[in-house]
Every structure is written in structure tokens, then in C-alpha cells.
Symmetry: C2
């Protein structure tokens, strides 16, 4: 019997702590609008590996940031991630029925409530960051807001989703697919590490090292995702697979081939770990995550 | 020939200044995602009276806040207002084709782009507030973000939109309609004045006076809107009228009657002006706005 890898325990412990913070921040209400909070909770307390929150807390831990602060920033990032999943799954967008193994938000509720639950989560993310409990220094709170907004807005995640829709009808080449990835999924991964660095008032060199690490694992994560869409099973992945191929959509796998895609993901994971050298052993959990990302089955 | 009322000139001048700032903040881009920025610009540069931005700049002017700072906060509030109109107009929500006399965003573009343009505007609003150009003090920037997020999220505008959907199928009484108004439209009007006060580092008493003013004109504004829906003409108002009555939906007018609704709106306008006494003549433009709100034809 092989022992459960340490990273899985670390991810699970962090996911549980983040869920507790989300649970406390998403307070139920009794007015006629209570279904809204139900939908917000449904979409954000449903599990998931919580990779982005892990990046926030593991990056913050490099600088000995108090965990309760890091967890608030981690919860804010997860709210943005969950809002983006709700809106991406809508009939007008990817029209997905299944997410993390359960009905998507607009199936469980309805389209209007799904749109509004997404809007509510996005807005609450910024509210949480701007609260004094996140950090006593207002400049740091504002920097967190600024970083998360830039990463998730039209120059980042939202712009990336537009590129993804464009890709449904156009053949993208490797440069274009790479830009799509950097905007749609990479930006939120990079800002997760950056928020740890902001909370920890990292030096320029430390911040640059984390940025380089995050860019590499972000790309590795996407390539691994594309591989799972080809090689994974629906049960394990928790969402429909084979979609990109069915849609004739270019991915890293279709452009590079399966073998080269595996090789590239692993090379990126190695390179990501090298960027962490300046942090010594303190960065072991980030190294473990870089390994995990390219070996995961879901 | 009657002279054009001064408030109309003041509103027009402010609207023009806000549009210039929005135009500069919404920079066009050349990537495949350029349609997104087009849609964001389409929905936010189309005119409108810009009442909320006027409240920000007029409130900030009470405390001699430099106009370039107030205009950035004003632009952020307008982005949130415009995002809410885009999402409210969607087929899954109010399903409106006409807004400010032109096709709504999902008609001019498509549903996916409209959802994303709204998301992009909401996100950019917080980005703009968090930037140093809005105020050199990070604590003030964070306070602006916090105030706008609270007003526009699940406890404010987004929650209010859920109540409005609920109202389509339930008969609300006056208390419930009032709560709906405070959340759906009142919160953003109140925070517009509050942001001027935050930028101006107002005292507690000054802040409370502005809050009271804003609550009164917010309610007066909604009653006047309900009256326009009954008494206005589609040409003047720039959107479909008679909708609430056709839908059998309770409004301040249906609950109070036309005459009492007029009387209440005017009483609120008077009361709002009285709250401004501590500011003396400096608050004349806010007083003029309170008068205008209940006398407007569109």
C-alpha cells in the first residue's frame, strides 16, 4: 500500500480551512433574496481542490503572514474562480450541465440566479479584500484589490474567456493558445501567488521568483487539463470530457501531440521548482504542488 | 423663452467630464478579444444623465476634493451602474431590447458578450478605485472599494435585483417595495455621496447628513421613475414604458396612487434639501439635483 502523498493532505487541509472561511463570509439571510446566498454558497462550497487558495496561503507562508489574513485573500480568489465557473457554464457561454460532479448553478437554480450569484461572488471578493481584517495597512488592502481586479478583468480572465469563445470558431496557433491560457487561467494563478507576496511585503526579487513559478505552473496546469480532457475519465474529472476534441477545438494537446504535451508539462514543472531556489526548504509545499499538478488524475 | 435650468447645464458638464474619464479608462485593444472592450464602451459611453457620478463629484466638491480624483470615483460608480443595466436587460432577467434609446448590449452584441462586458465593467470599477491616481492614501482607496462593493453586492444592488425578480411573482407591500428600492437602486445612490465623503475625509456628522440626503433622493428618484413609467412617453424616457402596469407589478404608484406618489416624491425632495443645511451654499448643486429628480421628464 502506498502512502497518500503529503501534497494531497496539505491540499485537503487547506481546502477545509478555506471552506470554513468561505462558509463564514457567505452568511445566510432571511429576506426574500435568500435564494441568492444559497446559490452563492452552492457554487462555492461544493469542494474542488482549491489550488488557487493553496497558492495564496503557501506563498504567504514564505513570508510568515498570519494564516487568518492569508485565508481571507485565499477565499477572495476562490470566490472569483467560482464566479467565473458559474458564468462560463451558462447556456450563452459553454452551456455545461455538470461541474465538480454536480449540476451547474443555472441547472440547480436558474439562469437569472446564476448570473446574479456570479455577480455577487465577484463583488464580495473585493469587499473581503478591502476589509481591515485582511490587513491593517490600507495600502496593502488596495494593492490586493488592484492585483485581483487586473488579473480577473478584461485584460485577464474575462478577456481570456472572450478569446476562448473566439477559439470556438477560429483555428488558433500555439502563440494564440498560449495567450488565451495566460489570460483565461494563468492570470488568476499568477495573482494567487502575488497576493501572498503582497501580504508578505515581499522584495522585488522574491516577487519576481514567485511570478516566474506561477507562470510556469499555470501553463503546466492547462496542458495537464488538456491531457485529462483526452486521457481522463468523466468520473474522475467530475465534468464532461472529450469536449475539445468533439468541438474540433485546438488545444496544447492537439497542437503538440500527447507525448510532447506530457514532456512540456513536466519540463515546466521542473522549471517552476527551480525558480523557488531563493526560498530554500520553506517553498517545499509549492514544489510539491508543481509536481502534483502534472501528475494529477482529476 | 425660459432659460435652461442651471442643473441641466451642471449635469451635462459633469456627464461630459465623466465620459472623458470613462473613455480614457476603457482603452481599445487589438487582440481577438477587442469586441469585449467595444461592448464595454458601447454600454457605458452611450450617454445617460449620469446622476450617480454627479452625486460623487458634487459631494466631493463639498470638501474641496481635487476634481480629477472625484471623477475617477464617479467613473467607477458609473461602470457599476452600467454593468447592472447590461445584466438586468439580459433575456434571463428583464429581457429588454431598448436602453437609453438604443439596442441593449446583448442585442447589439450577443448574450455571452453582454455577460462578459458586465463582468469586465464591474471588475474595472474596483481596479480604478484601487489605483494610486484615485487617492494617494491606501486606506482611503480601500474604503472606497469597500463602500462600493457593499452597496453593489448581495446586500445591496445584486440582492435588490433578486427581490425585483421575486416581485414579478409575488405581491409586495409598501415595506417590501421600500426595501427593494433601498437595495436595488438606493444603495448605489447612497454610496455615490458616501464616496465623495470618503475622498473628502468628511466628519461623522457630515457623512450622516449626506447619507440622509442620499436616502431621501434615492427614494424620490424611484417614485419619480415609477411615475414616468405611468405618465411618461417612450420617446422622452428612452426605454419601454408602462411595463410595470402591464406586468401587474406593484410599484410606489400602484400602492400609493398617482397623486400621493407625487406628493411623497416632493416631500422627500424637500426633506433631502434640509439635510444639507450644515453645508450652506456649497451644497446648492445637490439641492438643485434634489429638485430636478422629482421634476424630470426622462
Amino acid at each position: 500500500m502506498t502512502e497518500k502523498p503529503e501534497i494531497l493532505n496539505a491540499l485537503a487541509a487547506n481546502a477545509s480551512a478555506v471552506s470554513d472561511v468561505l462558509d463564514a463570509l457567505l452568511r445566510e439571510c432571511n429576506g426574500h433574496e435568500k435564494k441568492l446566498m444559497e446559490a452563492m454558497r452552492y457554487a462555492s462550497l461544493a469542494g474542488g481542490k482549491r489550488v488557487r487558495p493553496f497558492l495564496v496561503t503557501a506563498s504567504a507562508a514564505l513570508f510568515d503572514v498570519p494564516p487568518e489574513r492569508a485565508l481571507r485573500a485565499a477565499a477572495a480568489v476562490e470566490m472569483v474562480h467560482c464566479y467565473s465557473l458559474i458564468h462560463d457554464d451558462l447556456p450563452a457561454m459553454d452551456d455545461d450541465d455538470l461541474r465538480r460532479g454536480q449540476p451547474t448553478c443555472h441547472i440547480a437554480y436558474d439562469e437569472a440566479m446564476a448570473i446574479l450569484a456570479g455577480d455577487g461572488l465577484l463583488t464580495l471578493a473585493f469587499e473581503v479584500l478591502a476589509q481591515v481584517a485582511t490587513h491593517p495597512d490600507g495600502g496593502i488592502r488596495a494593492d490586493l484589490v488592484l492585483a485581483l481586479a487586473k488579473a480577473s478583468g478584461h485584460e485577464g480572465m474575462v478577456g481570456g474567456q472572450v478569446l476562448d469563445i473566439y477559439a470556438d470558431e477560429h483555428d488558433l496557433d500555439l502563440d494564440e493558445i498560449s495567450r488565451l491560457q495566460r489570460m483565461k487561467t494563468g492570470a488568476l494563478i499568477t495573482v494567487s501567488c502575488a497576493m501572498g507576496a503582497i501580504l508578505g511585503q515581499a522584495t522585488y526579487v522574491e516577487r519576481a521568483a514567485l511570478d516566474a513559478y506561477a507562470r510556469d505552473i499555470g501553463l503546466a496546469f492547462q496542458i495537464a487539463d488538456d491531457l485529462l480532457d483526452v486521457e481522463g475519465s468523466e468520473d474522475e474529472v467530475g465534468k464532461k470530457i472529450g469536449k475539445d476534441e468533439d468541438a474540433g477545438k485546438a488545444t496544447f494537446v492537439s497542437l503538440l501531440g500527447i507525448e510532447a504535451a506530457h514532456a512540456k508539462a513536466h519540463a515546466l514543472s521542473e522549471q517552476a521548482q527551480e525558480h523557488l531556489a531563493i526560498f530554500g526548504e520553506k517553498a517545499d509545499s509549492l514544489r510539491d504542488l508543481a509536481k502534483f499538478i502534472v501528475n494529477r488524475r482529476s
